[in-house]
């Protein structure tokens, strides 16, 4: 799924990474607990989260993710956007809540992969 499709499905605003919208991503995960992302995620390209701080971007960076989606109308601050730009990570923001956002992407074909438990 292209990042532009995620934007369209979630009616999301693109806060940075306009140039990455045509990139294909193949899997996603949703979590507010960054340690869980660091523990169990494997090669997932998109992180959906309701947590809104710099550690979200650093966690995504550590896991080589391409895109962060802030859900339920969280508005990341400028320093979060700057760090994401610097890390080569696209940032989207949607008003939809976590459960709906994940459900919409999942039913449109963006799946998770087997967890690395």
């Amino acid at each position: 799924m292209k990042i532009s499709k995620i934007k369209e499905l979630l009616e999301a605003e693109v806060l940075c990474g306009e140039d990455m919208l045509e990139e294909d991503v193949h899997s996603a995960c949703g979590s507010d607990m960054m340690s869980d992302v660091l523990a169990f995620v494997k090669d997932q390209a998109v992180l959906l989260t309701g947590l809104c701080n710099l550690q979200v971007v650093r966690t995504a960076n550590m896991m080589d993710m391409r895109c962060v989606v802030f859900v339920r109308a969280k508005k990341p601050t400028d320093d979060i956007i700057e760090l994401a730009k610097d890390s080569g990570i696209a940032v989207l923001a949607t008003d939809k809540p976590m459960y709906a956002s994940c459900g919409i992407l999942f039913t449109n074909g963006l799946r998770s992969e087997a967890v690395n438990a």
Binding site: M33, L51, L54, Q55, R58, N61, M63
Partner: protein, 140 residues
Amino acid sequence: MSEPIKFHFDVDGDNFSSAGEASVQVKRMLRQIGIPADVIRRVSVAMYEGEINMVIHADGGNADVVVEPGKIVIILADRGPGIADIELAMTEGYSTAPENVRSLGFGAGMGLPNMKRYTDDMKIESVVGQGTTVTMTVLF
């Protein structure tokens, strides 16, 4: 690469926002010297969790990374309160982090288990009241 390559960082304990900066820099530098991507991820995730721990529990500390052929060693040393029961601290889900840390996305008792998960060897030396040194090795 014959001589080991060494990186040193002071981890600022005052500011949770800056926690992880050293790990991000290490990740970038390891990329520049051509370390395989999966190895970089293991090193940087383990170091990142360690860095977060140092900020949450120990008011910061020192981080050293030594890159040798086939091996990367990460040494995180702090002068924090120490760990009384290391076995208990290693239990997934056990945490002494303050409640506010959970609202920041950490403090679920996953840090040390994650560090062990991503490294080939992890050694914890700790003296209560004096500090903790965690030495992690990633082989490749």
